[in-house]
Amino acid sequence: MRDLVRNRMALAALVFILAVLVFAILAPLLAGYDPASTDPGSILTAPSREHIFGTDRLGRDIFSRIVYGARISLAIGFIAVGIASLIGVFIGSIAGYYGGKIDYMLMRFVDIMLCFPTIFLILAVISLLEPSVTNIMVIIGATGWMGIARLVRAEVLTLKERDFVSAAKVMGAKDSRIIARHIIPNAIGPVLVSATLGVGGAILTESALSFLGIGVQPPTPSWGNILMDGRSTLGVAWWLTVFPGLFILFTVLSYNILGEALRDTFEPRLKE
């Protein structure tokens, strides 16, 4: 923890992440307007005191949309990563602990999954199902667990040779107990790093999908689909693109910086 505090950039990143989180949670209080309410009288107005981020083609307040959009984007980010982590940890530990044929089969499955260009896989699935927020969360999670699985498997391979695991075996502990109580808690470090970096990635993916129109559907705001709206009016209404763009940029950047900082805290802990 102390190392994190010392790293100024990581601290800044953490502060930004928390700020966005607060924004998202307190959305109803912070937003001045209902994100869906249109106002034909104020179409495409530049940032002003009434609308600090301006308005869009339908007169909706951008700031309110961004603040509500934060909820969606963050929720998708966290839950998708949560799903990916659960799948990854499960598959990685089983493969690493049991080795042999099980390991072989599972790792070939990972390889196959990695062969698919994720975006196209997601596009294909989304076009079959409807692009609801839930579906997006699940599909991003279900296509993003492979890296975590490999990381966990690597950790487990070293962990299972450690004496405290042998001691537990001698005491009569079953495999399930060893994996759940000894292996996974010690393998969590890299997972935390991967998950933090993953949140940034998930947000980016969701933004891309929404930008292409197959992600979160209007009128529900998400940073990606606000960008989509702004595409046609780029020359005239820069605020439609710049503000959501900046939020996406800084949020993803912050998660990346935090992830790297976490990696620095966990990696050197090789030999005490």
Binding site: D163, A168, V170
Partner: protein
């Protein structure tokens, strides 16, 4: 009566170009209540033998007969034998709930009492229970490892180089603790070490291993005073090299 018996144990590891005979036909018997030493240099197979007797490793040939279901282990590296993410209380108590499903973690007050009793034996304060392994020294961790092993009142313990990575004053502490435990609990112990001095201090009988075979077995007194096998002789000679009776060089 023999608590442990090994019959013609063989274990092979396939190396890059050849097969390594880690154990090449090892047989021994350990009497109940005795401290049996297994001594040899690196690669002789003593650790492999220990693991096979405990059931952590499977032999390729031969059998192990254990007249007990209650066996425990103490490993060499105190930095590796305790789960760094577990509190000392949980580490000590693990033996009591290890056989339960992994969901179980609540401990009865009876178990809590047993853990606290062990603290007396290993001479650690009550505050230690809430701490983590990295907050303790090597010697203290080894005491915790011994406490963990002894808590379930096992009949048989395998100690694999338990003092080799400790300073000499701490070594003595740990060895005295083991002697204390032997007296109080009457445990049978297989004590594996490369250090002849340590074996002499704590064991009754000893088997000398070399390249996967036992070359000589006998009481510590007999083996150390009149070794029969040439390897045993060489080992003893090398170890007595530093018996501190020859004082340094005085060069002109």
């Amino acid at each position: 009566m023999n608590l442990v018996r090994c019959e013609d144990l063989k274990k092979y590891f396939s190396g890059k170009a050849r097969i390594v005979k880690a154990l090449d036909g090892v047989s021994l018997e350990i009497e109940k209540g005795s401290f049996f030493g297994l001594v040899g240099e690196s690669g002789c197979g003593k650790t492999t033998l220990g693991k096979i007797i405990l059931g952590i490793m499977r032999q390729d040939y031969g059998r192990v007969i254990l007249e007990t279901k209650k066996a425990q282990v103490v490993f060499q590296d105190p930095y590796n034998s305790l789960d760094p993410k577990m509190k000392i209380f949980d580490i000590l108590a693990e033996g009591l709930i290890a056989r339960e499903s992994f969901i179980v973690n609540r401990l009865s007050s009876d178990m809590k009492r047993k853990v606290e009793e062990i603290l007396d034996l290993i001479k650690l304060p009550k505050e230690a229970l809430d701490k983590y392994p990295h907050q303790f020294s090597g010697g203290e961790r080894q005491r915790i490892a011994i406490g963990r092993a002894v808590l379930t009142k096992p009949e048989f313990i395998v100690c694999d180089e338990p003092v080799s990575s400790l300073d000499v004053t701490i070594q003595l502490q740990i060895l005295n603790l083991l002697k204390d435990i032997q007296k109080k609990l009457g445990i049978t112990c297989l004590f594996i070490s490369h250090d002849l001095k340590v074996i002499k201090f704590i064991c009754d009988k000893v088997a000398v291993m070399f390249r996967g075979k036992i070359v000589e077995t006998g009481s510590v007194r007999d083996i150390y005073s009149s070794p029969a096998h040439s390897y045993t002789k060489a080992l003893l000679k090398a170890a007595s090299y530093d018996n501190m009776k020859n004082y340094g060089r005085e060069y002109l």
